[in-house]
Each structure stands twice: as structure tokens, then as C-alpha cells.
Amino acid sequence: MADAPLIELELITPEATLLAATPELVVVPGSEGEFGVLRDHAPILSALRPGTVQVHATFDAEPECYFVTGGFSEAGPEHCLILADEAVPVADIDTAAADRAVADAEAALREAESGPDEAARERAEQALQVATARRAAAG
């Protein structure tokens, strides 16, 4: 498909613009489930859960994957804007470090569960979710 319709994708973190490209398909990990964005997508504003953004330059191409810890995404007919809290190319994730992060997060959660602080427990749970998702993304 030489003249396949493209979408303007921007993947931005607070510190820098990580990616600006025009792929054919983007798969975004929305908080209510993954959704794919093609051209002429209905306007949507969605929160993100920790997961992988898959950028397909063409439909058949292997996706370029970015792990995001959370954030927000806005998609329209021609564009897709992803505001990620943190994002890294999946290839750059250190598997061993990700494993350690999961173990640490589990330990922190166990500690927080015995404690009285509700907010701390919630934070620990979120941290574990992020760590697990990062580990899963690393493959």
C-alpha cells in the first residue's frame, strides 16, 4: 500500500519529544483497554495504563514498541498525541533491572500492606503495576 493514509503521531514526555512520526497504525494502551488508531479515528481522549505503545509504520511491518508508565492520549482523524508520564523504547529496557524493580515493588507493597497508611498502599500497588508491565514489555 504505497499511498496508505497516515496519522501524525507524537509521543511526548515531560522532558522531551520522544517520537514524531507518521505511521499507518498506532496501538495505544488505554485505561479501558488497548485501542488501535488508524486514520479517521473518532476523536477520543483517554487515560493510559502502564503498557506498550506499538507504532506500525505500515500495517505489515514489525511494530516499534515504546513502554509508557501512564499518561494521556488524544486521537483524532489525522493525529494521535500521546502524553506519557515516562516512556522508553522497549529495546532499551534492561530485563534484569526490570526483574529487580518487580521484586522491589512487591517487597514495598508487602511492607505497605502491613502499615496503616492507605495512600502508601495505593502508591505501592501502582508502582507494582508499572514494574510488572515494564517487565512484561521487556519480553
Binding site: 522532558e15 479501558e32 477520543i44 487515560a47
Partner: protein
Amino acid sequence: MSSLKELRTRISSVRSTRKITQAMKMVAASKLRRAQERAERARPYAAGMEAMVARLAGTVAPEDAPPLLAGTGRNQVCLLLVITADRGLCGAFNSGVVRAARRKIAALAEDSIETKIFCVGRKGYDLLRRTHGQRIVGHRLLPPGRDLPFAEAEAVAAEILGLFTDDGFDTCTMHYNRIRSAMSQVVTETQVIPRTAPESDEPAAEPDAGALHEFEPGEDELLADLLPRNLAVQIHGAFLESAAGEQGARMTAMENATRNAGDMIGRLELSYNRQRQAAITKELIEIISGSEAL
């Protein structure tokens, strides 16, 4: 009149001061470039976030809007977030922000609005502690090193939000230096709680009527997530602006100091040479009149 030897030591000490200020100026110049780039890179995110919040804010009925957006409905306590540098030697950079904050406090006091202060950066805290110590509810140093990680802004935002949910204040304004150019900074006041649309040059061309958005999850949940995030983004933006401004101010201040040192060296050298000449003349006169007396 100081002796020749004293003058010589003065000159050499001013010379080494000039070397230091010159080096500081050069360091500040290169740091300024990096800081400006960082501030530049952070802008797309802030702009995207602002657009999302604006879009969402438009869809929520005013009476359902969360307090972060619509305010608490009261205006009795105002929190001032004062952002300065940790270090001095940068001209009026810190004192300018502090002066603006003091003026604001005085103005609010006349309207019998109570004020609280949250300081970021050591200099502002040191200056305000003396005059408004009892109003300061918290302070924070900037992290060491060149980077200003977003996490730092998030931590400050979390503390402020904690105060807000505990009914600690009704409105919050941010006082910091915004860079106008490399050489000049303007002290800026921005209201962050309740949210105000930032004044931009282009009129908000956002509401493209046809684009009715689908929201996942619902508007309210999204807004509840977005608003604290937006606060952190605004604070982070202010941090970056302030960091770049600090380097710019230091560069200017050090350039002035270098120039002043040069002037001073010139003056000292003039008086040194005069004195030396006077001493020589005096000796000559003594020798001549001595030989004449023979």
C-alpha cells in the same frame, strides 16, 4: 594614601577576582544554553496537556467542576509558590521574585486575605524566612546537579495538592522568573489554582465544533487525573524557566562584575603609577638638592 606595596596587592587581588567572575560568566553561558534547550523541549508536553485540559474543561458543567478547576468558592487564604535559585551571585534574580511576593502579600493583606508561602530554592526561603517566617508552610531545595527531573515538580505538586485537599488555602499563585531573552528575565505571577487559561498570543482556536470527543474513562475521572498532572506540568515549566533565567541572570551579573573589576584595575594602576612616579621624583629632588648643598 596607601603604600605602593599595598596597591600592588590590591591590584593582584582584583585581577584574580576578575578571572573568577570571567570564568563564572563563561560557565553560566554554557549552562544557560543547556537550560534553554531543556525548557524548549518541555514545551510540547505542556502545550498538549493544556489543550487537553481546556477541551475537557469545556465539557464539564461549571457546577460539577472539581475545586481544582473552579476554585473552592472562597477567597480567604492564598498560597504563594515562590520559586528562586539555590545560589546567589546572579544579580537581582532572587530578590526580584521575593520583592514581588512581598508586594503581593501586602496587597492581599489589605483585602484581609490571609497568605501562606511555599518556597522552592534556598535563596527565596532565606530571604522570606526573616520577614514572613510564620507564613511559610513548606520549602524545598532544588535537586543538586544540572537536571530538573519531572519527579521533583511532581513532589512539589503533591505537597501543594495535599495542602489544598486539607483546606489549607483557596487560591494558589506561582511567582518565578520567566526568561524574556538570554539577558533579561521578568518576574511573573501565574495563578495555578483554580486553573486559568494561560494568556497566549494566538486566540484559542480550539473548539472545533465537530470534534465531539469520546472520553475514556468518563470526563470526571479524566479531569480528576489530568488536573493534578497539569499542576505538576505547570510547576515543572516554571522550574525550567527559572533555572534558565538563573543562568542568564548570573551571566549578566558576572559580565558586569568583570567589567567593574577591569575599571577598578585601571584606576588602581593609575594611582600606583602616579605614586611610583612621585616617589622617583622625590628621590631625584633629594639627590639633586643633596649634591647642590655640597
